[in-house]
């Protein structure tokens, strides 16, 4: 599995370098831009699309077929994409945390806003791949593309709605909001099991 992950990292390093630039611009802007949740949600959306994008490249190059001839189980092939999601989300969460602490540091926000804000960002990050990956593993990237665009559109729509939201008001620390990532994490785990099940049945 380490080899498969390494291959993902090589691909990300080569094909998605510009993503890092976009993410940094958004996160840096969020330090000075007031209560604009979209600036934090958008980098998360971008980064959680990485596994779908690398899957798309895998199909284009025929790696998905070749991988079926390597000593890797189908479960490992699926798990690497989910692991990539968690790593990307973790990285963006850390960068977002740094940006929000910097915002508090310059007097632009309150410390007690950070926890609920993070709950929303993490939930958004986990929700996209949880919905999309089983479809892509079942149908392939080409056939799953319509579902892909619907979910991306819905997530961007949600992001736009958040743009006008006052972070402090709707997301004051409350139990349901802080538990949101845990609920989505459970969906993420179920999505992983479903993807493994779908991919094991697929002919390469």
């Amino acid at each position: 599995m380490k080899g498969l992950l390494l291959k993902e990292l090589y691909m990300i390093g080569k094909y998605f370098r510009s993503f890092l630039f976009i993410i940094l611009v958004f996160l840096l802007s969020s330090i000075w831009a007031g209560n604009n949740l979209f600036l934090l949600v958008y980098p998360m959306i971008v980064v959680t699309m990485l596994p779908m994008s690398t899957l798309s490249y895998d199909e284009k190059f025929g790696w998905d077929v070749y991988c079926g001839a390597l000593p890797c189980s189908r479960a490992q092939v699926v798990s690497v994409k989910y692991l990539l999601c968690l790593l990307s989300i973790g990285l963006i969460a850390l960068l977002s945390l740094a940006a929000q602490l910097a915002r508090v540091g310059i007097g632009g926000g309150r410390l007690d806003e950070i926890a609920p804000l993070f709950s929303v960002i993490l939930a958004v990050g986990l929700a996209g791949p949880s919905l999309l990956l089983p479809i892509v593993f079942k149908l392939g990237v080409e056939k799953g593309r319509i579902a892909y665009y619907i979910v991306i559109g819905a997530m961007c729509g949600a992001g736009v709605l958040f743009t006008t939201a006052d972070v402090s008001a709707p997301f004051s620390v409350s139990l349901p909001v802080t538990l949101l990532p845990l609920a989505v994490l459970a969906i993420f785990a179920a999505s992983w099991l479903l993807s493994v099940c779908f991919y094991q049945k697929r002919s390469l």
């Binding site: 390494l6 291959k7 090589y10 790696w63 001839a69 490992q76 390469l204």
Partner: protein
């Protein structure tokens, strides 16, 4: 022991179905010959557990092709008809990836094969010619000390010199009695040089599977009049081609009457004659 054993294998697609019984003895090289769409790649995918059969049983290296088959692939070197590394990867990166995929990966052997096949390790895959891509796939297939090679059109896209070199590499691989090769190719001359056994696949059916040398010894091509051929036992004739000047037929030597001139038959002729006979 057989390196590959296939019994009553069935795979059905709309408009095409494959039915196959085949055995590759350990230590041998078998050439799988068939026209485009004959089912060679489907057979190879079934053998590697990449596609699920609709019926029958496959054993590779003594183990069934089932959900635990991934571990058996440690001992199988594979070259598929389309080289399939991401465009951005360089051979050096492929080495690092494969080192973490195969337990028996031998980086020194990989580098050695790259050098032998003149594959640069500092160029991305996208800058490789098709032949170069194929050579990288071959170097990967050999670098984890496999006991079985499964090769789907490994020499396509290679120039004659490199093809010869690759054929030598595969021959050297089978010097070890425990090593076996299943190879499909359109380039029958390569298979003729390399194989101990040949299997003819036509429209999803196995027409023939026999030792190559025995086939050459047993059969010859007769060029004669239609009447002369009609006098022979029909079971002794594998295939025929009629022309304005007479008949050319593949005939079992022991059934040919004394005085009938028989020339040596090649694998390609044998295949073409048999397919034409099948479609008659």
């Amino acid at each position: 022991m057989n390196a590959i054993e296939i019994k009553a294998l069935e795979k059905n697609y709309p408009g095409f179905d494959l039915k196959l019984d085949l055995a590759l003895p350990q230590g041998s090289i078998m050439g799988l010959i068939g026209e485009n769409g004959a089912g060679k790649t489907t057979a190879i995918k079934l053998i590697l557990g990449m596609t699920k059969p609709d019926g029958g049983r496959i054993e590779v290296l003594g183990r069934p092709v089932d959900k635990n088959f991934a571990r058996v692939r440690e001992e199988i070197g594979v070259v598929l008809d389309e080289p399939a590394f991401p465009d951005c990867l360089k051979a050096g990166q492929v080495d690092k990836i494969m080192r973490n995929i195969y337990k028996n990966w031998d980086s020194a052997a990989f580098r050695d094969n790259l050098a032998k096949l003149s594959v640069p390790d500092d160029k991305p895959f996208k800058d490789f010619s098709r032949g170069m891509k194929m050579k990288l796939s071959i170097a990967v297939a050999l670098a984890h000390r496999p006991r079985l090679l499964v090769l789907d059109e490994p020499t396509s896209g290679l120039d004659p010199l490199v093809r010869d070199q690759v054929v030598d590499i595969f021959s050297e691989f089978t010097r070890d009695e425990g090593h076996s090769v299943l190879i499909s190719s359109h380039i029958v001359s390569d298979l003729e040089k390399l194989c101990d056994y040949v299997a003819f696949l036509h429209k999803g059916r196995l027409l023939l599977c026999q030792e190559k040398d025995r086939l050459m010894e047993e059969y010859g091509i007769a060029h004669c009049a239609a009447g002369e051929l009609a006098a022979l036992d029909s079971a002794a004739v594998l295939g025929r081609r009629d022309s304005a000047y007479g008949v050319s037929a593949i005939v079992r030597r022991d059934a040919a009457p004394a005085g009938m001139a028989l020339s040596t038959v090649g694998i390609e002729e044998l295949f073409v004659f048999m397919v034409k006979e099948e479609e008659r």
